[in-house]
Symmetry: C2
Subunit: 491 residues, 2 copies
């Protein structure tokens, strides 16, 4: 559903260079050469210690809908180069028109806790098709994983409080809002104010009212009484239009009328000022008037750091309305996921492993048809090992820290583990039964509960050990050495 | 076109509270009461001195498509309150189903330079309808204005260099990418890599190739030669897969083959490392080999500050490929636009002016049916004055600084001016002929050229004077005083 954007096919939701490379592969007779790409990120967002995988459902929708429409092909056919001549010959358009998605895709399910360098998706298939998918897959997975992670951080602070996502008005476009609502729910939010997200994704919707409601009446009390009269089972009153504590008093009056009619005051909402002070004073006023169960909702540019600070200050807030800082991932609005070629099949049918060099070790990619094995003991998860599935693991396995080869650890054959990537598409056909959004949401909390708490700290979190299986590590090292000889440094 | 998201009506692209308020207005007999809302922001993004208005074309699409589908109504009808009973009675769904958009909307055209507190849009109509539009209008205008502004800042640094937008893979969802491409083009970019944006909005598309292209061949030179052979009129070679300067040498070889076949080497692209040093060395290598006209494209997490620094360092870059930092507005990923009730018509047909109080002067809203008058002299624009159109300006007019009433300036009746808001919708019907994207783009540069250069500085920019016309200022002050009496402070 999510990908039916723009009332158009989304096959053009990619970069021109994917198409020019596709053309190059096709002209060079390489279009169908089998390749493997891994989609991964290099660093946790928010200087954190974990990331939540999210976006697979959109990837599935995207690939299932993938086709070049006649309109798309006409557009592609119209593209011109620097000299004003067309970029592509007609035979290529015919090829694209008839093309059917043949890729195998394995992926880590939504809601899984993941770490740098782990392939969230592995795409295997004709290099031309793998290449076309690079941009949309990154777009879908980068953003949703970012927001699910941000939401999970807020859930860690909120503990058992209610978390409401209110971000649509400040989100990066309609989709930035609707998709963020979904990712936030998976990451740990209870509900959204966004009706379209509620309808599309079966997310509970919640809301209060705006200042304009209050301002449209002669007095605040009149506005509260009127709202309570007509929506008696949905009353959370925004009290800061004029003065917050006076607003609480008016809300209590409205609450008394509600009780007289068999309803109750659900909550009051503070949206400005000193939330620590105001929430404590509001709680007192409410309790004194017998409204001990009335929620205190707070909003106003909140994030996990401000929530944490408010809790330390003893704020009496039990419902948090969070918008901008969540849906835009304000302090780091992009996850730097990449999609790198890791192997290509030679004419002889052998895998030719590939990597990209860089002066920075963190930017050297890892070759291989990768899978991630997550080992655990009776206390929880202990290590993740990235290995090449072409290199079956027999007996004890050893993993090496990719950035410090002197660090390694071994796992006996009977160590408990789970392999994280599961088959999603085989030869372009969906073979995965997508968990519900509620299952993905539950997975986040279940996963987090099984990790050492140090990775969940905001400041200097513990680094969970992720290594390369020894054969893969050795193969990568050898490839680097070979490449540095073949393509010598100029300096 | 842009709003045909999700293969569904977008009327639910709003917050639940807009709908509960709508219901409240309807039940209270106020649904059709005429109201005026202003959409404005309080602070320039990026600590800058100007903002570019953008997103009106999406607003127009949104409003023209506005209707509640049977599916939407079924969803709304299913919503429940805290007690498990339905929120809305069936008569309200009938009302929504039959509702036709009746608002008058005036707005500042896309590409106009705007300032804090100026209404980018003014919506006048039945309060129920105005309220439903709050969330989508903010969503569309906030994001697009943010990105157009970011792009305009980059254009200021780039001067006559070429600016390419490469952000789709890191954007906040598909729409975050496609809409950002459009806003970036309006703000001053020359082209995008995003094919869907190219097709939808008539934006030129440009691109190079990826590391995977190079890695899929045995040697970099072979990959360059193959690319040049098949796409001879689109050759910009990415040189940093193994070693950048060695890559430039290989590119020069490919360039020689291109020349032998009557083509030329369009450019080389640096994507990592010390871009200042590498660009200078690359320029030398290219020039020595007779490729003086070959472009040097740079990319790698660039923004206006890095571009500025690279230019100061003497970098020989003349084409800039910019992604993440532009399309997510990385250093401030949201513009804090708000939408405030400013007037409501009383039963007697008189305007009852409205404002929202706050302890912070910057958060007190301004009442009135607002228009913005931009005064100019022979050197350019000198001041903007916000006034109430119900208060016709006759003779000399005086404006007052809203945050310092001791500061004011007067304008003689014959001072040259332009009123910025123009009619877009009258009684729900579009009466505006939307300029082309190319005209909106040209407007940005034309506007910026007419402002004092101090507002275009990145550090401590000059504050362009924007004031309230004296009658409006006095009315606002009087309203504040009255409200503070009527809704007394509790402290």
């Amino acid at each position: 559903m999510i990908n039916k954007l723009y009332d158009t096919s989304l096959s053009l939701l990619t970069d021109l260079y994917q198409l020019t490379m596709a053309y190059g592969y096709w002209k060079a007779g390489k279009a169908e050469q089998e390749a493997v790409f891994n989609l991964y990120f290099r660093k946790h967002p928010f200087q954190g210690g974990f990331t939540i995988a999210c976006g697979l459902n959109s990837v599935i929708d995207y690939i299932q809908e993938f086709r070049f429409s006649p309109e798309d092909l006409a557009y592609i056919g119209s593209l011109k180069g620097n000299d004003g001549n067309k970029l592509f010959e007609p035979g290529f358009l015919d090829y694209l028109e008839k093309m059917e998605m043949q890729c195998n895709i394995d992926a880590i399910p939504e809601g899984t806790v993941v770490f740098p360098n782990e392939p969230l998706l592995r795409v295997q298939g004709p290099i031309l098709q793998c290449q076309l998918l690079e941009t949309p897959l990154l777009n879908l997975v980068n953003f949703q994983s970012l927001i699910a992670t941000k939401a999970a951080r807020m859930r860690l602070v909120a503990k058992d409080d209610v978390l409401l996502e209110f971000g649509l008005r400040r989100a990066q476009g309609p989709d930035g809002g609707v998709t963020a609502s979904r990712a936030a729910y998976i990451g740990g939010f209870d509900a959204t104010s966004n009706l379209l997200a509620g309808k599309l994704y079966d997310i509970p919707v919640k809301g209060t009212h705006a200042h304009s409601w209050v301002m449209s009446f002669d007095t605040e009390l009149e506005s509260f009484e009127t709202y309570s009269q007509h929506l008696p089972n949905n009353v959370t009153l925004l009290v800061d239009t004029y003065d917050s504590l006076n607003g609480v008093r008016n809300a209590i009056e409205a609450g008394k009328s509600l009780r007289a009619r068999g309803y109750d005051l659900g909550g009051i909402r503070l949206d400005s000022g000193d939330l620590a002070y105001l929430s404590v004073e509001s709680r007192k006023l409410l309790d004194e008037a017998g409204f001990e169960k009335t929620n205190i909702v707070a909003s106003n540019d909140l994030d996990e750091y401000i929530m944490d600070s408010l809790k330390i200050q003893g704020a009496k807030i039990n419902v948090w309305g969070i918008g901008t800082k969540l849906v835009t991932a304000y302090d780091q609005p992009a996850l730097g996921g990449v999609y790198k070629l890791a192997a290509i099949k030679s004419a002889g049918g052998e895998w030719d492993y590939k990597l990209k060099l860089s002066e920075q070790a963190i930017k050297v990619s890892t070759p291989g048809i990768q899978q991630v094995r997550r080992f655990s003991d009776n206390k929880g998860f202990v290590s993740d090992m990235i290995f090449n599935i072409e290199n079956p693991l027999i007996g004890k396995s050893t993993m090496i820290d990719p950035y410090d080869f002197t660090k390694n650890r071994s796992f006996a054959e009977n160590t408990h583990f789970e392999d994280l990537l599961v088959p999603i598409f085989a030869n372009g056909k969906l073979i995965y039964s997508l968990p519900s959004i509620h299952e993905a949401k539950a997975r986040v909390q279940d996963q987090l509960a099984h990790f050492y708490k140090g990775i969940k700290r905001f400041v200097n979190p513990h680094t969970y050990p992720v290594g390369l299986e020894k054969h893969l590590f050795d193969m990568k090292t050898e490839l680097i050495m070979k490449l540095r000889q073949k393509e010598p440094e100029a300096l």
